[in-house]
Amino acid sequence: MTDATIQAARPPRSQWWDVWDQFKTHKGAMAGLIFFVFIIAAVYLGPFLWTIDPTYIDIRARNSGPSLAHPFGADQLGRDILARMLQGGQVSISVGLTAMLLSLVLGTFVGVLAGYWKRLDGLLMRLTDLFLALPLLPLLLVIIMLFRDPLRAMFGLETGIFILIVFVIGITSWMQTARIVRGDVLALKEREYVLAARSIGTPSRRVVLRHILPNIMSPIMVSATLGIANAIITESALSFLGLGFPPDYPTWGRLLFDAKDMIQQYPERVIWPGLAISLTVLAVNYIGDGLRDALDPRIRGR
């Protein structure tokens, strides 16, 4: 074999370019991606442009409607809603993403272990059942009561509560993912290509990484996108119960709940955070959809 013949065959193109090419053809996913990037940019860069302090109380502007000084209006204490939306978005999106990642990693890990190694199956699935059977709200109450103050002391007020909330949401929402993943792994490990890999001498851990995980991408993607939505909403519920971030600290969920008492007089205060949550979740769903299609070579190129 000479060098010329090797070069004659096309050099391997990175798979990620193919994935990106396919992703671009998915209109919904592109729209979702653009919107998501816009939201991220807005909540992280926006506060540099819109410099009103979200906790600044301008009592004369209280309950005012949209105006040039307050494009989204001001709340019952006269705080600027746009500034609060931007800062609330930072918290909600980062809580959503991190909690989703945590629950995904945990769920996939447990699911793969239980599905692939028969010895661990019974134990891990009973553990999953146990978590599913736990009454969520009392558990959250206890966890937050126990750990809020030590974590605040350790990481500071906001970081402490952020870690706590992400952790709490993460460890109470991994069970569905674990079950779905386990089911798929059980089916996949009987496939002949897994047998072929074993006949080559591939050790189990690499069989899982190379053959099992890429093939359970679709259900993982679906749980991931649903997980973000869930995490944002759970965080809102926690804030509402007074267990989340401190009351003056805005998150989308908190804004929603603060505004709900005056929904009849000022419906726009519910609409803004509600719209932000729904559109973010929708965008993430579409991105997940497009990514799932783009990662599957059978769909790619169609």
Binding site: I6, P12, R191, L195, A196, S199, I200
Partner: protein, 332 residues
């Protein structure tokens, strides 16, 4: 076993191989029995030959093939490949032996990971067992693709873009990647249509010549086995009932089951077709979890004797290189 065609060295030596799968039932998953998929088979495969393994569906052919490669943890018996005993070896230690023995699978669709490109599939054994640089690996993969007759441009494509025959070539290239000595072909042509079957079988023959491979060729297609195999073993319900050279077996089958099996092969010549006497077996194959007492074939054998229902026949060599497990030939 002495025969002029088998003068080579024994590469694979299988003795009393048993593969029983436990059956669990009831609330407490108690072990209530076992499926005796492979129940004590013994044979040798000589270097450079092809041993055909035939039998009807469910007789344990594929299980035998996989057990010999130790894809299962075998129940009992000894397997020596290239002089190394691998019967009781635990799985992690088998890794070093894997390059010597490889497998070609039945369903080329299912045996290729749909998310890996052809180059990645063929290169997987190289990733596992060699420390080639990227360039060396690519060179080797392209060389293998040439050897099995695949266009080099296909290297970055995915399995779903290929036809069945091409996919099987990918599977064969993967099996060849580590220069194995022994390849188990588990019905490699059963999922292909007839015109492609011939191509794949011829490819296997060419590769055997080129690389000096030894095959265990599992099939239920007697005409294909007749074409490719040097010797043929006939299995029934987890046992080898007859083992002979190809000519001997097809000319003068001894075991009643082999006779029945061979009589079922269609005769292409219509004038001869009328003269062929079909031996039709009555009844069904007994369940491998409850094999009959005595000879496994005694429930369906047209020449059954009283002794068959009592004593299990053992393999007897009735001529040079011709083994039969049947009481009919007990005295000869």
């Amino acid at each position: 076993m002495l025969d002029e065609t088998n003068s080579g060295n024994v590469l694979v030596e299988v003795r009393d191989l048993k593969m029983h799968f436990p059956i669990h039932a009831g609330v407490f998953k108690k072990r209530v029995g076992e499926v005796k998929a492979v129940d004590g088979i013994s044979f040798d495969i000589f270097e450079g030959e092809t041993l055909g393994l035939v039998g009807e569906s469910g007789c344990g052919k594929s299980t035998a093939g996989r057990a010999i490669l130790r894809l299962y943890d075998i129940t009992e018996g000894s397997i020596k490949i290239d002089g190394v005993e691998i019967g009781p070896t635990p799985q992690p230690k088998l890794r070093e032996m894997r390059p010597t023995m490889q497998m070609v699978f039945q369903d080329p669709q299912a045996s290729l990971n749909p998310r890996m490109s052809v180059a990645a599939i063929i290169g997987e054994p190289l990733d596992e067992h060699t420390d080639f640089s990227k360039k060396e690996k690519r060179e080797k993969v392209l060389g293998l693709m040439d050897a099995v007759g695949l266009n080099r441009d296909f290297a970055n494509r995915y399995p779903h873009e290929f036809s069945g025959g091409q996919r099987q070539r990918i599977g064969i290239a993967r099996a060849l990647a580590l220069n194995p000595k022994f390849i188990v072909c588990d019905e490699p042509i059963a999922a292909l249509d007839v015109s492609i079957q011939a191509q794949v079988v011829n490819l296997l023959e060419d590769l055997q010549e080129e690389f000096g491979l030894t095959y265990l060729f599992i099939s239920h297609d007697l005409s294909m086995v007749r074409h490719i195999a040097d010797r043929v073993a006939v299995m029934y319900l987890g046992r080898v009932v007859e083992l002979a050279t190809r000519e001997e077996l097809f000319r003068a089958p001894k075991h009643p089951y082999t006779q029945a099996l061979l009589s079922a092969v269609p005769e292409p010549d219509p004038s001869l077709e009328e003269k062929v006497e079909r031996i039709l077996l009555e009844g069904d194959v007994p369940s491998p979890s409850k094999p009959p007492k005595g000879c496994n074939f005694c429930t369906r054998c047209p020449q059954v004797m009283d002794i068959c229902k009592e004593i299990d026949p053992t393999g007897k060599e009735i001529a040079a290189g011709h083994q039969v497990a049947c009481h009919l030939y007990a005295d000869t």
